[in-house]
Amino acid sequence: MPDPLSRLVGEFSRLPGIGPKTATRLVHHLLKVSDADARALAESILEVKEKLFHCCRCNGITDIDPCSICTDEQRDKTQICVVEEPFNIQPIERTREFHGRYHVLMGALSPQRGIGPEQLRISGLLERLDGITEVILATNPDVEGEATALYLARLLKPRDIEVTRLAFGMPVGGDIEYTDEVTLARSLAGRRAI
């Protein structure tokens, strides 16, 4: 394979969910598109990297700092919903069931991958608890998400805050990202004290 080809296949292969086979197919597709389309793709990748960053308060992805959710005065200032990744926010927003603010941990506890509490954005969460009456733990319903929720619940216990966990009707091992709106809305509405 010529060098630029194998380089691009290599770059695609590093993306999550993409194996060498899919990477090769994508590259061969790109060889067929117009120069303008290829340039648009490359530029949009750069644009995302240049213009977007993590919100200084919630760690969500934003182009203004703090993000529009953190600065929206209409939102409930007494509730905070804790999620693992920035892309977990949108599915919850789409349910229209939650009107508070978010906090992104940037991961979940994972001994195997060397992720302990120190590697997560937990101190930032603790700094944001003034005026908060409920923390909703919306980490994924898999083992790592459960352990993370239980860790946070223990940490928050001494404070006078209600700590709740989504009531997942979805199969254990699921992922918020892939849960449909109705199920997620039901999980939010049926959240229980942990």
Binding site: S110, G116, V172
Partner: protein, 365 residues
């Protein structure tokens, strides 16, 4: 309707089996009907491989290897096993090893594993079960868990949750890190579910074992099967399990590994009041093993999931009297695939369809 009700009273038969590049088998295109099928052939002729292909089709696992890639015929890159199951409607199962990875389809689509497992319940007795009674506890845990999953495939999720939480805890203990608490809590949740399932299963399998033993007409000493959980508490609740696990925390930190939990459970098997390991002969252990297979099949039948039985080298270590008695227990089964290298001992299996396997080639005998 529950998982069990929905499945009630459905006869499931493997009506078509085809395999390509599987082990030493010639490509197979087989239509076994209802009833007993005797597969006769010398050692190495492919009898076990044929049963393995059916087991793999039904469970997506092999009973000989944890690496499905091992099942690829020498010199080939991939294998396929396809089967059709008749349960009133036809279901098509497919498993294989393709492009260096596992492959599985239900009715030509990718489906969740639990749906695949619901299609064709199997109960097998193979060489892998030879040491079930006298070997290490892990074999008996696998025996219980396979039985549980055959009854309710969704139990796989609980077992996986326990395994993952245990793996996490192992790393934390090994690396002497803190914050084990949440992992113990996740463990306790899964552990209490597993312990209840296992205790319940062992009680029921003991009852069915006694029924199968009496059906065989063999005069056996009293056989007792007792679940011996690592966390031995009367009332299994998440709180009690967690309290027990936490009471080991200091010792676990000293040793650097988890010391309690269902991953250390065992089943005690008493034969006339004494441990089977010391008193049972190879023949007696074989009888017990086959009766256990019958017992787990009867349990599946009780929830409307009559299994197909796969009995590999069924006659070895058995004299004719015992073979006849034990085999009689399976006479009511809807579909049984039995392999043997001695055709002469199967005179009593009058209704059986006989097949010959020679150098991987299957033909009517």
């Amino acid at each position: 309707m529950t998982e069990i009700d929905a499945a009630r009273n459905q006869l499931r038969l493997l009506v078509h089996l085809s395999s390509h590049s599987f082990r030493n088998l010639k490509d197979i295109d087989w239509q076994p009907g209802q009833g007993c099928h005797l597969l006769i052939g010398p050692n190495g002729s492919g009898k076990s491989s044929l049963l393995e292909s059916v087991y793999l089709l039904a469970t997506t696992r092999s009973f000989r290897t944890s690496q499905p890639g091992d099942c690829v015929r020498h010199g080939e890159g991939e294998f396929h096993v396809t089967g059709e199951v008749d349960s009133g409607v036809r279901s098509r199962l497919e498993v294989g090893w393709v492009s260096g990875g596992r492959f599985r389809r239900l009715n030509d689509r990718s489906a969740p594993l639990v749906e695949h497992l619901r299609v064709l319940p199997v109960v097998a007795w193979t060489d892998a079960d030879r040491d079930l009674l006298s070997g290490p506890p892990a074999l008996r845990r696998r025996f219980i868990d396979q039985g549980i999953v055959a009854e309710r495939p969704t139990a796989l999720e609980t077992l996986a949750r326990y395994r993952q939480a245990l793996a996490g805890k192992r790393v934390l203990l090994m690396e002497r890190r803190k914050a084990i608490g949440p992992w113990n809590e996740v463990l306790a949740g899964a552990a209490s579910e597993i312990m209840k399932l296992r205790r319940d299963y062992m009680e029921r399998v003991s009852t069915e074992f006694a029924a199968a033993a009496s059906l065989s007409g063999l005069s056996l000493p009293l056989v007792e099967l007792r679940y011996r959980p690592s966390i031995d508490i009367m009332e299994i609740t998440q709180e009690h399990v967690l309290a027990t696990i936490e009471s080991f925390e200091r010792r676990e930190r000293d040793k650097g590994r988890p010391l309690v939990g269902p991953h250390l459970d065992d089943v005690e098997i008493l034969f006339g009041g004494r441990g089977i390991r010391r008193v049972g002969s190879a023949g007696e252990r074989k009888v017990l093993g086959l009766l256990l297979a019958a017992a787990r099949g009867r349990l599946l039948g009780a929830v409307g999931r009559d299994p197909i039985y796969l009995l590999d080298d069924a006659d070895t270590e058995l004299d004719r009297g015992r073979l006849e008695a034990v085999f009689g227990v399976f006479s009511e089964a809807k579909q049984v695939l039995v392999s043997s290298n001695r055709s002469e001992v199967w005179g009593m299996a009058e209704g059986a369809t006989r097949w010959r396997l020679e150098e991987g080639d299957l033909s009517p005998a």
